[in-house]
Symmetry: D2
Subunit: 337 residues, 4 copies
């Protein structure tokens, strides 16, 4: 089994984040190259990350490079079309941050070009489909347990955005996630859209329509409404409530899938510790591996294991006798110096 | 950079879970060997996982093996002592599932043996320290924002356990996690313990004391009470409420750290999308890598990117005109055949 | 101080509920008369309630009656206009369940007639304005703490309604509450309305449009969207989320006003026990009064007071000595026989 | 039906609150007399409240007064014994704020004296039994749905108390509520109590043990643990979690009874609007009555009813046509001047 060798085009905030992810938290992959117009930034990142990461100034060169098996595009949207065509040309799998391209016409040309290649190479970065909450919601709706889904009520809020973020960008960069969510959850196309603009918040520049309220109508007759508010001031918030014939389900409250069904509101209890602590185990092992490579440990020590054993012994005695029991612990300094 | 080569001793439920984790979700590590008294099970697992994983029947042979850099012990507690000594002897880093050993005396001998080796090789599997909620709680308490921590109220519930799980095991296998949590959060030792046994649930065998209520007294004068209830019937639940001089903080409700402070109850909003969707990005990229190796994609396609672009174009028109706008989408079958 | 003598017109579910309320839970008022086309039902209710309640078959006669100071109209909407004119004629204060009348034209005639009388006699039964959660939300928004209110997202769901409940009634009987809520919270008029009808739930008769999604545009440029779903199957649910320039506030989750503001989600802690237990005190005293009239008590007895004292005495001893203390309680049967 | 004529002894914070309650929010009762050592305060209150309320300086005179049918004792605890004996002597029903008396011995004498009178005259002010959440919890536990109740975990927190509030008062005035809750929920006596004192918060005077952790053992083998923390700084908080054989139920979170049972956490949806808005209706009618007596209205006007009708008419047109519809509203100033 050889690791997939990955090159990343664009190492601004998003691309640098992906670089960390590939280099430090992804199994079966290796970051081998990065590219960015800001070559200083790219070089610094390449140096900082573990492994041999090359800086290749020209993105098309990176895509064409024989040592690069697959590409992540985190470049600005306007650069996507050319880079995607290059990936298709070299037959390289590519994970492209949204938007695919800047308009529908060019996006359709990408679709057609990939179709001509004859195999699926392009994946778009609508990462919400991979969020455990969204995935659980999708599964619940697909199960039919709540009947047919009738409506979605969605909320998408950012704390704030750059003053250059204009009304159209709110649609193209923020609402676009909700477009994908609605299409994916309903497994259907949107046929009609209305975007309402209430009187904007006074905390944006003149002319920027923020917040917005979009209403999607789907081919199957369902409806989704979405608030997009990118200067909410409070924090980042993404919620989705699906309303179905026999109940509703909401995610984004930070507590899994909240359902209202069968006379009850609430959620599911985890069945066992592996569900509850899956992430804790993942982090524990990743950090133990990273520390072991450095010749260290990065977690509870043998002393912690010993002290716990001493307390448990006293606990068993207390359980048996019904009395408080003092814990008999060795003197740490005497043992460990 | 070479991957850390890991061997796992014991591939029951916990060990098999670790094997999956190392083989498929951990960067910088490779699973190279597994050992288990049930060699058929170990062999099957070795074959099922990606990469070359050897089955080595004898755990001590696995530990001694020159191709094994580090060891995870997921064997039964009674086998730990011998295996830990072997790891120390070969100078191998070891992640040992709790309990360290079966009693305080043998645990202390392990501590002393490691001390003699002269470097930290043993980490105990108290994985809660790595749970993001516990870590955030620890950080909040350590910040001093709520003042000195006075008490903990903890709850540890399992849906059910095997009928062979006796009163002492409830202390040694379940309560032990709470022992570590209290020691870790207070950064102090427990000096006294009382374990109360209310009249047991009727859903356990005669003589099993379940639930239990333990009260820990710490050297610094703080107190922690813990309910352990391993036949709760409902599901798995672990909660921890820390009560401090100026507020309280609770985790395990599934919604991050819930605080009561400064006249308010509630929690923090995530600052941005990377906080909220960190896991979604991790899963997206891991699944994209895995699929790319197979020559597939496993996520939103170019068509999904195109359809989103078409809806956004219509949305921008609606925003401008104030009217509903039909989405002009190409015929998918005509384009993709 | 003399009690206000109240007559109720219409004693179906809503009117009977009001009759109970006036007769048993309202200070300074007395129920003196009820009227209903179903005279048997009205008679039975009059007999069942405390005090002297007359049954007066003709509603106009009840309104005109010299012993009736004020009127509650819980008759069907189509009967309201005539009865309201009668109340105005006799100068009687009237609490009229919604809708005021069946259409805007007749409602306007009522407004004009009351104006001619020269004093406010008519109150409409939009009772949400009196709900503590709505009142707290209104107060919060009016305080300006969150900035100007930009949008409302409302949800109004019934478990189910009679099969005779048609699309128009959903607007007139259910949506009408949301109309008042939006007008009241924004203190402004609605200038435009769009009602979307997704493909209906399959659990209604053909032709009934349920659920509906209404979008209100207000004179001040704000927007409110409302889901009305009267056959939700799950239960009754009314929610209102106000989105303002610096935060949002949601009610109807059953936990007061949930805000998202200043980087936090959550709510206010009650300042003292009177806030938390106000209702408990009200109920305690009302039930004590009702029982005292019957020569009984309906709550904790002197024995309960004694037993609590005995436990507290032991508690103080335990606090002082640090040991468990047995409670010394007299033998109840020996004392009370 | 004649109103119960009530006299209140002690009109500090609690007594004044009861005076308001009886005078303004209680059906079938009338406040006729108040007594307080601070006669100026008592006189001012008597004057401020509606109806004819006499100030009677001597509490025993008030109790003996022929126009007083029943008594509420809100005097300090040390005065209770004498006043209770007076109530018994005159055969008057009395609602006595806790504590019944200052110690178990005197409380037992009250019990015996009432027993001699031969009928129940004394009710103790453990008002939590009347809190809708506690009542719902009691009902749930009594139903047996969750099996036998095994444990309670309770929390009782005040924002702060006067510096004169010493350790013993924390037991006698605060913990006493929890004593009653445990006795009432389990319908059993407490046989043993342990009160732990962790190192106190630094925000109390030297020598005050705050917080405290009490453990009650009941005759039936159940256990209750209670945190009492009267200088919590944050606000008032009272919680109770009952742990039973097949699930748990928690109140005091502000969202009704939160259960964990059958694999789910959550609560019940209200069945209909009367459950959800019961309080709103009560308040609406009480305020309408109070305003009607003053010749006013105190709620939505006829204009509000008309405006709602106009919006609904437009809404029905929109539902039929699928288009936005402008609302045709008369000019308010032209109509109402």
């Amino acid at each position: 089994m050889t690791d997939l060798r990955i090159g990343i085009v664009g190492v601004g905030a998003m691309g640098a984040d992906h670089a960390e992810r590939v280099a430090r938290r992804t199994a079966g992959a290796r970051l081998v190259a990065v590219s960015d117009p800001d070559t200083v930034r790219a070089e610094a990142l390449a140096t900082a990350l573990p492994g041999d990461v090359r800086m290749i100034a020209d993105p098309l060169e990176l895509i064409a490079d024989g040592e690069v098996d697959a590409v992540i595009l985190a470049s600005p949207g306007f650069a996507h079309a050319e880079q995607l065509f290059a990936c298709l040309e070299h037959g390289k799998p590519v994970l492209c941050e949204k938007p695919l391209t800047m308009d529908a016409a060019s996006a359709l040309r990408v679709v057609e070009a990939e179709h001509k290649v004859g195999r699926s190479l392009i994946q778009v970065g609508f990462m919400r489909r991979f969020d455990p909450e969204y995935a659980a919601l999708k599964e619940l709706l697909a199960s039919g347990e709540l009947g047919r889904t009738l409506m979605l009520h969605n909320v998408h809020r950012n704390k704030s955005v750059a003053p250059t973020f204009r009304s159209e960008m709110i649609v193209r960069d923020s609402l676009v996630h909700e477009v994908d969510v609605a299409r994916w959850l309903f497994d259907d196309e949107i046929t009609r859209i209305t975007v309402h603009a209430p009187k904007p918040t006074s905390l944006v520049a003149d002319g920027v329509l923020d917040p917005q309220l979009a209403v999607f109508e789907l081919a199957n007759g369902a409806i989704a409404d979405v608030e997009v508010f990118v200067n909410f001031q409070v924090g980042y918030e993404v919620r989705c409530e699906a309303v179905a014939e026999r109940g509703s389900a909401t995610i984004g409250l930070g507590s899994g899938v909240l359902t209202r069904a069968a006379g009850q509101w609430g959620g599911a209890m985890p069945a066992d510790f592996r569900v509850r602590f899956e992430r804790a185990y993942d982090i524990e092992v990743q950090r133990w591996v990273d520390a072991a490579v450095r010749g260290e440990i990065d977690g509870p020590s043998a002393w912690d294991g010993y002290a716990a054993a001493a307390v448990c012994e006293a606990g068993i005695e207390s359980l048996t006798t019904g009395r408080p029991v003092d814990v008999d612990l060795a003197d740490k300094r005497q043992i460990l110096g």
